[in-house]
Amino acid sequence: MRSRSRRARSIRLVFATAAALLIAGCASMPASLKAYGLNKTLDLSVVARHPTAYVGRLVRWGGIIIAARNLAHETRFQILAYPLDHIGHPESNGTPLGRFLAETPGYLETMIYRHGRAVTVVGRVQGVVHGKIGAASYTYPEIAVRRIYLWPRQRRAQPQLGVGIGIGIGG
């Protein structure tokens, strides 16, 4: 009896360890991007169309940095938004959702948070800012950022193996 329960326990332990390892292998959302009271369905374009309706809502948006600028007390980003996947990473091969402005308090190094890098932010909708892209006018939703997460650079280099068979004919 005793030895059986011990064996059952050891089997359970093996299963628990295996399950833990499996779960650990799955990528999960960075802790800093988790927040209570997130408005997960609020879309960029909706905010752009209704400038005052959603002020103060907490959102999690992300995308690729278009421009970064250090202001006197904050750093301002222009971001091209993409849909986020389950870990909060912007899917840059998806359809872009439009641009938004993100204001982060204090100094962030714009040589690191630079054009082309992927970021995800959690923050509150502040309203909209009317700006220009070239000669076209553009309405940017603006976010007061609480948390910003810089995604590591993507490793694009993948082994590409080619097998070729050639026949050479020469004079």
Partner: protein, 168 residues
């Protein structure tokens, strides 16, 4: 194992170790960090070895000024390719350095003496820069892009690669 074999293996093993370029070797290099210098915790005159990515170059009449985004150094003195940074510092070089060569984004490691901090703006932000009077420096070659296989595959065009048909 035979002693000569051990010596050969050791030779190969040690050849793999990268060492600091001669220009970056100096006595009495202190371990003060950029942020410590920024906060005024490092006395002026001490020698430091710092490196990073060039953010901006300005050519004065007798000096060249560079803003460098600090990055931790590898054993061989090369700044790591990382998102970690302790902040920016200003490097002051005697004479002219061509901004076309010392371009934004290149990696540079300097050895020099600390001077008093200077406040300059980055965009509109007032930033306190530690200043290094550079005595010697090393500009790093850009790392080659990693390629696993040259494309197009040379065997496709010439089965006798790297020679011509039939083994010219």
């Amino acid at each position: 194992m035979k002693p000569w074999l051990i010596i050969i293996i050791l030779g190969f093993a040690l050849a793999g170790c990268a060492t600091l370029p001669a220009a970056l070797r100096a006595p009495n290099v202190t371990s003060f960090t950029v942020s410590e210098a920024q906060q005024g915790q490092a006395p002026a005159g001490v020698r430091v070895r710092w490196g990073g990515t060039i953010a901006q170059v300005r050519n004065g009449q007798a000096h060249t000024w560079m803003e460098i985004v600090e990055q931790p150094l590898a054993r061989n003195g090369r700044p790591h390719r990382t998102d970690q940074s302790d902040g920016r510092f200003l490097a002051r070089f005697t004479g002219f350095l061509d901004p076309a060569i010392y371009a934004t984004g290149r990696k540079l490691t300097v050895v020099g003496e600390l001077e008093h901090t200077q406040v300059r703006t980055i965009g509109q932000f007032s930033y306190t820069f530690p200043v290094v009077k550079v005595t010697s420096f090393h500009l790093w070659r850009p790392l080659p892009k990693r390629r696993y296989w040259p494309t197009p595959n040379p065997f496709w065009y010439n089965p006798w690669y790297p020679w011509g048909y039939p083994f010219y």
